[in-house]
Symmetry: C2
Subunit: 432 residues, 2 copies
């Protein structure tokens, strides 16, 4: 039996310094829980001489990753460098050296998770990644353990705090996109280059990780259908409100007999749905399971201490396994190959905002476009003019396939009475 | 290494039959995950000859509990009988026989949880009780594992589905209490005798279990301050709405340097708080942790399959531990003694609805009652008359102690201009 556990920390940015703080602050509780002390033995940084506001001793900082990973007294590697190549290599090296790994790296896990989890199995090591999705929310553990006996059918998630913060400020404080983004940057929610957030790629990576776990398969990032925030047009948020919806950047993943659909896009969520009131930088994932029904897990999607709480939770789990000698023994669900659903198999309701010429008979022309494609309409409303001699028509469909939706878009573009489709959204949250 | 795991099921009501259904429905996945099949070997029932709609063979049903608990081929006992005495005795017997136990029994866990967990430790057995609180929501596991590295400061929970269903119907469909209760009974949410639900005792038991775990202590049920639904008066729900609140039966537990406060009572929750939109029979627990910040876990609080999902999740965890030979090795947080906070240490805002005589100077008399007790007011509104020549005054305080609130109540009762205090509520959900 070990009498202490030594950690090698790769990276000392917002998350890494948070991990050091929590291990220090909750030292007594953790030692009591595990029966042995947990210590940070070495820390990999870019500049080892830099002055840092930390309880850790200056001499444990190093710029040499091998000094951390290959230290035989180190039991567990905690990877919080971020990025892809260097982080992936470090994780591989650690696993090959027989050390457990805890990572907060969504880029690595979305792209190489399957391969790394196999490597961990081969070397009988734990590879935990709770902090890669949903910051402080224990989502991975919930899908793996809490709902271990269930079969997950669908996931809807607000998994990017930056875009949710921006949309909340735009809705509740009537800020412009630019103002809200500036505030997010100032508060540290948005990166200097926010494109991965606002383009939806960050959320797509997280949905890949969640869907892989939920559906027991190896979802490929390139199978995620992604639309960014730029598709949200002026006036859409107010329109959403008028019809009882809230605009959210949401991930959606569903598995049924036809295969898997997975997407990240701006959607209209019914205000009665719990996800509609997930505000600011908070994240939430709504899980629909075969037997549990509807559950939702809500919390801070980012931030130093929340994310570090997840990392430290993983550290506790990995330490416990090490001490009990059961590391690398995760439950393996049967892995399934999957097919991506075709557009004609992906069913949803759509909100279409169409700019039309203000002339007689235009409504009947539009209505016939929908009926031509077998789509029936739940709501048709003529909205205010666009100051260019046109008016906006709002059409909300009943359930149709994405193919029908695309065909309708296409035909609308070729309809002379139509100036253009201003925007469109999938409507979510009605199956309650 | 075992080549199968045998379960003894005590009880075959809504939850027990759900467990059998899930084990059957997800048999392949579970066998794959665990590496061995999991079988229900014997089932304790009151009438073994009764015809049941189940895949289980008639001959495994028995009326003799010893036949189940003492069967040497049975590895794990699943207690879903309900009630207290018989269930507790069965759990004890199973643990003493060295068998792991999974229970869904909140009554037993609230009253005897500490004693039983110690017994489980002594006999190196697992005792899991996820289903005792929050139906299908993995709450216990989240507090034990997911937030293992954090220190929980406060919990607010809607943990009784029946009362939440009633309040939702009263708010959204303007039903009377009696109509809503009748509907809950008809849908099977409310027991034939709903008193434990509407009096708040069911929620108090669940809060005892959650707070014990969250605060690493042995909370006693009798330390929970409980007010039932009968304290909700006609018109209160509409008043709440008018001031931006929703009335919920909520449990609240908080630990700070002064000690622990724990309560179940009807409260006014700010509509912007995520708990305010937890509707119908759903449950949710809002957890405030030292480092994670705010998280919330939402899902079905009852029902056959949701609750059975939690039981089966526990079965998977217990089986895994048995197979790895690490059963009975839970993490032990340092256990703390606790003191119950005094009323003067329990701080909150209060909503007071006071029926007063419609006469000159009454407002200033009332205002001086508050200022006499050092309470400052956030809102004072004169509300419609009560048809008896009086009017209702609404006073919403800034933060005061429960002692101040009680002193004010007391003085109001002795103020000649006051007909009576119609109702009062603690105001929750503003620290966001």
């Amino acid at each position: 039996m070990k009498n202490e556990i030594n950690i090698g920390l790769l990276g000392f940015g917002v998350v890494g310094s948070g991990v050091a703080e929590i291990l220090h602050r909750h030292q007594e509780d953790l030692s009591h829980k595990l029966g042995v002390p947990v210590k940070i033995k070495k820390v990999l940084v870019k500049d080892a001489t830099k002055k840092r506001d930390t309880v850790l001793a200056q001499e444990i900082f190093t710029t040499d990753s091998d000094e951390v990973i290959e230290d035989p007294s180190i039991d567990l590697i905690v990877e919080v460098i971020g990025g892809t190549i260097e982080a992936k290599q470090a994780i591989e090296k650690a696993l090959r050296a027989g050390k457990g790994v805890v990572t907060a790296n969504k880029d690595v896990m979305a792209q190489f998770g399957h391969e790394l989890l196999k490597l961990a199995d081969e070397h009988k090591c734990d590879l935990f990644y709770e902090a890669s999705v949903g910051g402080g929310i224990p989502l991975i553990r919930t899908l793996e353990d809490g709902l271990a006996s269930d079969r997950i059918r669908a996931l809807t998630g607000i998994v990017n705090g930056t875009t949710n913060f921006i949309l909340t400020k735009m809705k509740h404080e009537k800020k412009t996109y630019e103002e809200a983004l500036a505030e997010a940057t100032e508060l540290g929610f948005a990166e200097a280059d926010p494109s991965a957030d606002v383009d939806g790629m960050d959320a797509a990576r997280k949905m890949t990780i969640l869907a892989s776990l939920a559906f027991s398969t190896e979802v490929r990032l390139e199978d995620v259908f992604v639309r960014g925030m730029k598709d949200i047009q002026n006036g859409d948020l107010a329109l959403a409100e008028q019809f009882g919806f809230t605009v959210k950047m949401a991930g959606f993943a569903k598995k049924d007999d036809d295969g898997i659909e997975i997407s990240v896009e701006p959607v209209f969520i019914q205000n009665s749905h719990p996800l509609a009131s997930v505000n600011n930088e908070f994240n939430a994932v709504y899980v629909y399971g075969d037997t549990v029904g509807e559950t939702m897990f809500y919390g801070p999607g980012a931030g130093s201490l929340p994310t570090a709480t997840s990392v430290t939770g993983d550290i506790v789990a990995a330490c416990r396994n090490l001490l009990l000698g059961v590391n690398g023994k995760r439950l393996h669900a049967p892995q399934h190959a999957y097919t991506v659903k075709e557009d004609k198999q992906i069913i949803g309701r759509y909100f279409h905002r169409i700019s039309v010429k203000d002339e007689v008979g235009v409504l009947s022309k539009l209505a016939s476009v929908y009926s031509n494609h077998g789509a029936s309409l739940a709501t048709v409303v003529q909205h205010e003019g666009d100051n260019n001699g046109g008016v906006d028509l709002i059409m909300i469909t009943h359930s149709i396939s994405r193919q029908q939706h695309l065909d309708i878009m296409n035909e609308l573009h070729n309809t002379p009475a139509v100036n253009g489709v201003v925007s469109y959204y999938r409507v979510e949250g009605e199956n309650r």
